[in-house]
């Protein structure tokens, strides 16, 4: 089980990296943490001719608050988020999620942006990005563009990233002080890909829910928003019955896939349970 041949470049600057990506186009892949890419290369399911290894571009590892946003650089590793990277409920939610990503050695190496670029259907950060209204900052040799999370995911392992581009940064808007988050997932073993997960965010103002977002992951080709459940919550008092109803609504309207690990019906049940748990966590925070 050995990867196919490739050329390895380890540029020192972002400009060099982007020039390499521009030159090699579809042949090239960015190598950040490599914790998802390298196994797929070992099985020869991925066989990039060129790897642009960005690990030596030091300034890319930032996690900073600027302009009302949390800006996460391409080399920020998962483990960074295990401790609060930003005050308040957002940092708490990110820390909670980080502890569910694979195992400590993989968290020390794998990156937040790498997860979004790889777009595994069961990636925690992908579901989180959708719930938290992330914006992807894409760099290429001749400029930048931003893509909203809702436009980013385009099916299994597939995103809006174009050849020659690199996901340089993910931007999470800082939520209002009244905002709370919740996360729940179900995996069979510690560190496994989840069979279903829910990431929720909502504001609680005057005892009523506002701006609720519920992202579901692990159930299909890409994370999705549970829009019907979100609508149900809007402007309501978060009674236990309401949260249960929202969870049931999310389950009813989602379209889970079947695979060897779980029939669709089972995933649908898990969605209800995970949404319920994540919502309860949020409102009781």
């Amino acid at each position: 089980m050995k990867p196919a041949r490739f050329a390895h470049h380890a540029p020192r600057t972002l400009e060099e990296a982007l020039a390499l990506l521009a030159t090699h186009g579809e042949e090239a892949r960015v190598l950040a943490g490599g914790q998802s890419l390298v196994p797929t290369m070992a099985f020869r399911m991925a066989r990039p001719a060129v790897l642009v290894d960005i690990n030596r571009i030091a300034p890319l590892d930032h996690v900073t608050v600027a302009g009302g946003s949390l800006r996460i650089g391409a080399l920020a590793r998962h483990a960074r988020f295990e401790t609060q990277v930003v005050e308040g409920a957002l940092g708490t939610l990110l820390a909670r999620i980080a502890h569910h990503i694979a195992h400590p050695p993989l968290r020390l190496r794998g990156t937040f942006c790498g997860s979004l670029a790889h777009a595994d259907p069961a990636s925690e950060w992908c579901a989180a990005a959708l719930a938290l209204e992330a914006r992807m900052v894409l760099a290429r040799a001749d400029g930048l563009r931003e893509v909203a999370a809702e436009d980013w995911f385009q099916g299994v392992f597939s995103t809006a990233l174009a050849p020659g581009e690199m996901l340089r940064e993910v931007v999470l808007p800082l939520p209002a002080p009244s905002w709370r988050g919740g996360f729940a997932e179900f995996a069979r073993r510690a560190g496994d890909f989840a069979l279903a997960m829910a990431v929720v965010g909502l504001r609680l103002e005057g005892g009523l829910v506002g701006g609720a977002r519920i992202a579901l992951g692990g159930i299909g080709g890409q994370p999705v928003l549970a829009r019907e459940a979100m609508a149900l919550l809007e402007g309501q008092a978060p009674s236990s019955a309401l949260l249960d109803e929202a969870a049931a609504t999310a389950a009813r309207h989602c379209d889970p896939q079947e695979d060897m690990h779980a029939p669709a019906e089972y995933r649908r049940e898990l969605v209800a349970v995970m949404v319920k748990r994540a919502l309860r966590q949020a409102v009781s925070a």
Binding site: A10, V38, R109
Partner: protein, 160 residues
């Protein structure tokens, strides 16, 4: 072929490798350090865990060329030059934390990192970290016991 310079267990190395050679294969084939074992080559079992610049990595998920300039520590660096086992290795023997021994180097390196963390180790953290690696022989109980005992001996154990 690419030239890679790095250190292993404090010794400078310079090897020429294909970029596709993993760090694990580079250590085994180019440096003769066969204590690092490959159990899956896709990042699940952790048998190939080594420390790279102080952090545990699956050496099957890092390419050898990425070790340029890095400090690598492997299982061969744990015992004294005369072969005397260190405190963690002794605990593994005393607690019967190994049977076939194939997963052992990975667990030893993972635990070495854990024991060096300044915040110390408690039961929850012990299980969280050691759940990173697979063992097929022991049922884990004695591996956990060995690391616990070693942590107590070097006074980094925290009662939960």
């Amino acid at each position: 072929m690419t030239e890679v310079r790095f250190t292993v267990n404090g010794t400078a190395q310079c090897v020429e490798v294909e970029p596709r050679l993993t760090l694990a294969d580079m250590l085994r084939e180019e440096c003769g350090l066969t204590g690092t074992h490959l159990g899956c080559e896709h990042g699940v079992c952790g048998a190939c865990t080594v420390l790279m610049d102080g952090l545990p990595v699956r050496s099957c998920l890092v390419f050898g060329v990425q070790a340029e300039g890095a400090e690598i520590r492997t299982v061969e660096g744990l015992a004294a030059a005369d072969g005397t086992l260190n405190v963690l290795q002794r605990a593994f023997q005393a607690q019967h934390g190994l049977q076939c021994g194939f997963c052992t180097p990975g667990f030893l390196m993972l635990a070495t990192w854990l024991l060096e963390q300044k915040e110390g180790v408690d039961e929850a953290r012990l299980r969280e970290v050691l759940a990173s690696n697979l063992c097929r022989c022991t049922g884990y109980q004695n591996i956990l016991a060995a690391v616990r005992v070693a942590a107590q001996e070097i006074r980094v154990w925290r009662e939960g």
